[in-house]
């Protein structure tokens, strides 16, 4: 079977992923790019004799931009292995989308243009003459709609057809003066029998005139270059003179624009003049001068309310089924140590993490909705003025919101900021946006210390205060560490679109699967480790001492408390206990006992581990009380209110997990800043938790 690799390229918000999804059925998979950690989505499709693989590259407005996220796509297009480019275009915004297309055409690869969202365009009275467009450009241009699935088959057939046949170069026409200069260079190259396969001499000439580094590097190695140079100089001089401009980039843009205007005049017919479209109507409400911000805050509040209330329903079920599983499995195992490992270690640890899956799913659904409907850009628009005061950029909003899901993609999303100090500052602040992995800690503690009606609000409060602290930290860092000019704020306001349910489901499904996988592997190992170091070495001396004491006691209540005391004492003598005792002094001013201190440290591995550690530690120590075996009640009865609040504050701020820190180091490309991040987050977390604890203790 022959494998065909298709690079899907297009500007952001043109429905690339949706199209890949429509073409391939439902086999969209997200994987990592080799070398660079940017997610690329691959969809596969078998058509009898061919296997077609779509690579869904990150959207970009222009190949000549230098934002890090856009570089990934450019690098892939220049160096990656693929058979042809499918340039996805939003038919309702043809002229702007063609700016990228003209640059793609100059790559001189096999190429097809997919005029997506055809159904929407017809509705808006936009008519594109695709036949004429194919004729003018010399490459197939096909109207498709990923929503109605119209022409998807034609697109696939065309892909197979173009792949099979020799390359047909796209016809891009420049102004006569520029064409003349190009011909001069081509003629010189032809006369000297110069060839640089697979490039044609026209491609080489264009690359030289447009001063493309890649082409220069190739030609520069040839002895011919000495003779070529004066001709090139003259051609360039002429071009500058004709265009009345001495910046080659501007010349290129102007040439492309002229071509696009001409093309649009031929093929684009807008029947109705610009009218009040749906997007504009929705925007007049959602980014309304006065109502915009309150609506935004309300939507965020709603999301966190839903996360708590809706998530609560299956949560109880999951918790009780894991409790049942632990008891049942525990009862069937003879060996005491093995029984403890499985029931108290693995099931308690993994179960306490899986329990929060519904909350995580709702949160990720919310973020996916923000991204796919187009509201994210509105939020950036509304918040830019406010963010700007705190030294942040409106666009920082996107990585910051992503940070509510997970810091790892958030650090990567910060690539949309071109200015380095803006980017680093945003990355420092991302940690203040509580990630999904911290959610279990909050849900657990909010549920333990607040009434159920209040818990959702508390959750919202935690997230908001984290965000506010982040803004303050941003201001401080802007004044001290990251001085410098701001990046301009220029951003597309995409149309509002109803996201495809399939795509939404896919995102939530992929994230949930990742969470479960993490629980099944990483959290499982961590739980076993925590169980082991909290069970060994067994101190038989204490055990014997207490056993005789318990036997001599007649009162049942005393027996119970003695048994608890024994478990406590024994755990204090284990490796974990010793470790906890060593670091306890650091956390004592915050009101943490050694178990909480240990949980904080284990949270560095992954924030979910905090909960699983507490689960293991408290389920080992508290087996006696059989009437309240839910972790929430155990927490409520073992930890004081001020300690619990200080704990939340600490968890809110201190270093994101080690995996995220590693990504930070990679993205920031600086060990110095990574060290700053570690110190900065720990210091802030400690100080604020200290204030919280002392304040609450005083008030109580």
């Amino acid at each position: 079977m022959k494998k065909i690799i298709i690079a899907l390229v297009g500007q952001p918000n043109v429905g690339k992923s949706h199209l890949a999804n429509a073409m391939s059925g439902s086999n969209l998979k997200i994987g990592n790019f080799a070398g660079v950690t940017v997610e690329k989505a691959i969809a596969r499709l078998s058509t009898g004799e061919h296997e077609v693989e779509f690579i869904d590259l990150p959207g970009l407005y222009s190949l000549e931009d230098f934002a890090a996220d856009e570089k990934v796509t450019k690098d892939f297009l220049l160096k990656g292995e693929y058979d042809l480019i499918v340039n996805v275009i939003d038919s309702t915004n043809l002229d702007r989308n063609l700016m990228l297309s003209t640059q793609l055409m100059e790559l001189h690869k096999k190429m097809i243009i997919a005029l997506n969202m055809d159904d929407e365009a017809s509705k808006e009275g936009i008519e594109i003459d695709d036949r004429n467009m194919s004729k003018i450009l010399g490459i197939p241009c096909i109207k498709v709609s990923s929503k109605t699935k119209s022409n998807i088959d034609t697109l696939l057939e065309t892909i197979l057809h173009v792949e099979k046949n020799p390359i047909q170069l796209a016809k891009l026409v420049y102004t006569d003066d520029v064409e003349e200069q190009l011909q001069n260079i081509v003629k010189f190259l032809d006369d000297k029998h110069f060839s640089l396969p697979p490039l044609t001499n026209k491609t080489v000439a264009l690359g030289l005139l447009w001063q493309k580094r890649e082409v220069y590097a190739l030609v520069h190695e040839h002895p011919l270059y000495i003779e070529l140079q004066p001709i090139l100089n003259q051609a360039l001089g002429n071009v500058y003179r004709y265009c009345e401009c001495d910046d080659i980039e501007e010349v290129i843009t102007a040439q492309h624009n002229a071509f696009i205007s001409g093309l649009c005049a031929e093929v684009l017919h807008v029947k109705k003049p610009k009218y009040q479209n749906i997007t504009q109507t929705i925007d007049s409400l959602l980014i309304h001068k006065l109502l915009g911000l309150p609506i935004f805050i309300f939507l965020m509040w709603g999301l966190f309310q839903l996360t708590f209330t809706l998530g609560q329903i299956p949560m109880d079920l999951i918790e009780s089924s894991f409790g049942w599983l632990g008891e049942t499995v525990g009862a069937s195992i003879e060996n005491e140590a093995l029984k403890s490992l499985i029931a108290d270690g693995i099931i308690a640890g993994v179960g306490s993490v899986i329990m929060f899956l519904p909350n995580i799913m709702i949160l990720f659904l919310g973020i996916a909705l923000l991204e796919t409907t187009g509201y994210m850009a509105r939020a950036a628009f509304l918040l830019d003025g406010f963010f700007h005061k705190f030294g942040l950029h409106g666009k920082s909003f996107i990585p910051l919101v992503t940070g509510f899901g997970c810091s790892v993609p958030a650090y990567m999303a910060a690539r949309t900021l071109k200015n380095k100090s803006d980017r680093l500052l945003t990355m420092f602040i991302i940690g203040f946006m509580s990630c999904g992995a911290r959610l279990p800690v909050y849900v657990l503690f909010a549920g333990a210390f607040f009434e159920e009606e209040m818990a959702g609000n508390v959750l919202f409060g935690i997230y908001i205060s984290g965000a506010i602290l982040g803004l303050i930290a941003g201001k401080i860092l802007r004044i001290t560490a990251f001085k410098g000019e701001d990046e301009p704020f220029v951003m597309e306001m995409p149309k509002y679109r109803l996201p495809s349910l399939k795509l939404l489901w896919f995102v939530v499904y992929a994230k949930s699967l990742m969470y479960i996988k993490k629980a099944g592997t990483f959290i499982l190992m961590a739980s076993m480790l925590i169980w082991f170091i909290s069970s060994y070495p067994k101190n038989t001396l204490i055990e014997e001492q207490y056993t005789t004491q318990i036997e001599s006691t007649l009162n049942d209540e005393d027996k119970g408390s003695l048994q608890n005391e024994m478990r406590e004492k024994m755990m204090e003598m284990t490796y974990l206990g010793m470790l906890g005792k060593t670091i306890e002094p650091v956390f004592t001013p915050l009101g943490f006992d050694w178990k909480m201190s240990v949980a904080t440290m284990s949270g560095l591995a992954a924030k979910e581990v905090i909960v699983s550690t507490l689960g293991v530690l408290y389920s080992l120590g508290d087996e006696v009380k059989e009437d309240d075996n839910s972790l929430r009640e155990i927490i409520a009865s073992n930890i004081s209110f001020p300690s619990a609040m200080a704990f939340i504050v600490f968890v809110m701020i201190y270093l994101p997990c080690l995996a995220a820190t590693a990504v930070f180091a990679k993205e920031a490309q600086s060990l110095k800043y990574t060290a700053y991040l570690v110190i900065f987050t720990f210091a802030t977390a400690w100080v604020l938790a200290f204030i919280m604890y002392q304040l609450l203790t005083l008030l109580a």
């Binding site: 980014i287 911000l293 628009f381 509304l382 003025g385 301009p488 704020f489 597309e492």
Partner: protein, 74 residues
Amino acid sequence: MDLSQAKKSEKLKIVNIKAQAMLKKRLSTLGVIVGKEVEVLETTIQKNTIKIAIGLGSIALRLDEAKLIEVEAY
């Protein structure tokens, strides 16, 4: 006059863009080019950012950037 002084729903034509090369390129990739028709659609409460219609789409700008775009009545 520049775009920051424009009133809402006023149809204007871009006559000059005084931005630096990088910003100019960014603007052009989003369709902000000399000769195009432009219209202010929305502003935020303190007028820090504005939303403009350009071509068939719309983009958001800070007022600082809008000041660099010279316009005249269409």
